[in-house]
Symmetry: C2
Subunit: 460 residues, 2 copies
């Protein structure tokens, strides 16, 4: 563990997004005496990356709505020395120095620190396909990416778009583009979209895509991009053998942890190739902590390290890293991989392990899947909701859940996440006293119905 | 415990609503050989009592929508001998006989049984106030009550109504009547409406009532009712010293467990004056079980018997009573008192103990209350949500929660209910990996924010 931060010491945070600013803010709150410096290579801090599809859809209209607190706010209100356009390029953990490059200046700067938090995040994968350099081929990761796409769309010449990759960012972008009356094709390498879900659940999402006019190419490899009439600008995507017209391409082919700085310092990566930390967010170097999308977390079901980059985790890990960096001693309890996405009118949520994932982890897993209504029989407006629970055949320990429906999904998954944190069995879950009123749920909540089915499968 | 049901034995269930029909159905499913008889004094079984306010509001238009499965369905599909218009008047538990009166016939009938489930429910309290017998003064408990009110409203002569009692049924009725453009006054004896909530939460509901044009009389005792122009029909309510015009009065002054039959058999009541049972729903007489609003349940926080009549509990207890009545051995895990109601545009939910209730139970309780948005900053449509957590000062064990807001409240309370069942502390809850996406929640879910506040209060 890092030694307690000395009076008037310095904390350097590398990366000014969710994890970094959470760490800096937490440290500042606990230790007004400490010099807190944030090195951010871009020109923004703490922006709402998850809202970028809605910004592109013009549902969120102003850039300012994505940046709740800007660098000046952190400087002025929290006395955090935020340095934009400043890239940390070399870390010497034992000597406690970090070397930065400052945009627009030829000279670097060497900063000494007492503790350092790596919060470098993740970066979008941009496969080196033929034509990937054409105008109109984008990745979406940073606010700058979002602005570029929005500007490109503003040109008004985009009638068709291809999204490469059917993960949740790809599908959120498909929805965003469709909302702008652009014809959308999604090309997915695998046999299903949303590969972190079981196929019997992701198929519901595929039906929703089709119902909303999205063209879906599955098990298709993108071979490259070709210009149309304008030689510098994308006009076609090669999807499998097919040439698909596309005035815009979003490469939603995944992200990788940004570990260059950590690796430059000889800091250990874990089995996922993200930075390994202990529960206190301390890396293999005692003076260096890590938080957010650049590092691993412990999965509460498997107790193994996983890399599931999500904003919720980044915020929590950042807060813990910030506290421990200045002498605190708090632990992160781990993650269940809980996530939710809106795909057109569907809410799509999961937590814990899928049936496929549980088997891959060596569990003798069983699952129960039910369909029910979101409201009481007779009350208008009820929608179908599908709940799937995954559990151990022997003993019934809950391993995970997936829910898809048109309302009241997102926060229902939290019930299952809470049950996972508590180590409940499906029989325990079936006993939970859940809320009922005709406008909000049937008297047997869909989760209770699924848990009841699961219990039956145990007995059987 | 009751002895295993003999081959071809008889189960008699008294009461054909949620608990009774759940018990009968469960028993039938497990034991096709057993003669399952349901005695129901009314003319309906298994109707959606909680939907009655929406039926009166004309949101649910047809009576049939309230009766998902009628007596014929149970007779035909489940081979359950449902006897309508049949009232059990005397129970001899040791002799295993029950005496019934059958509507329209002078003679009673004596039925023998091997096991009997009492599911007599609760009945509305109708205080013997002067004028309570006038036309237009109603209680709302049964489907017949709902039909009477709807018919009365159909006369078209109702311009003003008074609801006596500001519990959740009273407030649901206030909303239902306002939806029919009737001016509504709510008269409440206590200083706040929704007395099962803490006053700092129920005050939010009071503001909503006023914003929707409801006149609220608090700390007012209703002295009686007086006719208007028509001498047989209610025209005024005496609220405190005031004479309030009312063409319709709903007496929502609470319910009491229907225990006459149990008492006739010398079956023990508990401290709440509802029927006492063990976790297997067996009463003080081994051949007699009880389920639903007529009996107590164990509160999972206090481990003490409570009487909180709700449909969710009735369904669960009924199922357990039905299984055990035919030789099963399953236990009811108890209740958290989780409930939710819609009051105009608010969702109002609670689980476990309030701050007031926790102190009354002898806990050294602390609470944390926060306001947050239901969606990410910048995403349109976010609404304010208020979350209050109640917990033990020493150690932080979670004792209860209350949530009020305009969206995504009802199923958020289930997260807290699950945490209560698991015996979590507020620190445990603060670690739960909850879902986030801009349309559905801020990155720190309001429950996590509240849990974080609670943890701070512990440390401080």
């Amino acid at each position: 563990m890092p030694s307690a931060m000395r009076e008037g010491g310095r904390l350097v945070v590398v990366g000014g997004d969710a994890a970094g600013m959470s760490a800096a803010s937490r440290a500042r709150r606990l230790r007004p005496d400490v010099d807190v410096v944030v090195l951010e290579q871009g020109r923004d801090v703490s922006y709402a990356a998850c809202s970028l599809p809605y910004y592109i859809a013009d549902l969120v209209t102003e850039r300012d709505q994505l940046v709740r607190y800007d660098a000046d706010f952190f400087r002025r209100e929290r006395h955090i020395d935020v340095r934009l356009g400043t890239r940390a390029v070399e870390l010497e953990a034992r000597r406690r120095t970090v070397t930065c490059e400052i945009e627009g200046t030829p000279d670097g700067e060497v900063l000494e620190f007492d503790a350092l938090v790596i919060a470098t995040g993740a970066r979008a994968v941009r496969p080196p396909l033929p034509g990937v350099e054409l105008d109109g081929v984008f990745t979406l990761r940073t606010l700058a990416d979002g602005e570029r796409i929005k500007r490109f769309l503003g040109s008004g010449q985009v009638r068709s778009a291809t999204v490469v990759g059917g993960g949740y960012i790809g599908l959120e972008m498909a929805e965003a583009l469709a909302a702008r009356d652009i014809g959308v094709t999604v090309v997915e390498l695998l046999p299903t979209v949303l590969f972190t879900y079981d196929p019997d659940m992701s198929s519901i999402v595929e039906a929703e895509l089709l119902a909303n006019g999205v063209v879906l190419h599955k098990e298709r490899k993108v071979g490259g991009f070709e210009p149309g009439d304008d030689p510098g600008r994308v006009g076609y995507v090669l999807s499998g053998g097919q040439r698909v017209a596309a005035d815009l391409v979003i490469m939603a082919t995944g992200v990788r942890p940004a570990t260059d700085l950590a690796e430059s310092a000889g800091i250990e990566l874990g089995p996922t190739r993200a930075i390994r930390t202990d529960a206190r967010q301390v890396t293999s170097e005692p003076s260096v902590l890590a938080a957010g999308d650049c590092c691993e977390a412990t999965h509460i079901v498997t107790r193994r390290p996983v890399w599931i980059p999500l904003g919720t985790t980044a915020n929590k890990q950042g807060k813990i890293a910030g506290e421990n960096a200045v002498g605190g001693n708090v632990q992160f309890g781990g993650i269940a991989g809980t996530n939710v996405a809106k795909v057109f009118d569907l809410e799509v949520a999961q937590t814990g392990l899928t049936a496929v994932g549980a088997k891959a982890e060596g569990h003798a897993a069983e699952s129960a899947r039910i369909r029910a209504s979101t409201r009481a029989h007779g009350y208008p407006g009820g929608q179908e909701i599908t709940v799937k629970l995954v559990f151990e055949k022997d003993g019934g320990r809950l391993l995970g859940g997936q829910i898809i429906g048109r309302e009241r999904v997102a926060k229902r998954i939290d019930t299952i996440a809470t049950a996972l944190h508590a180590g409940m069995t499906v029989a325990d879950l079936a006993q939970v006293d859940m809320s009922y009123a005709p406008p909000f749920a049937p008297v047997w909540d869909p989760i209770l119905i699924a848990a009841g089915q699961a219990v039956k499968k145990l007995a059987g």
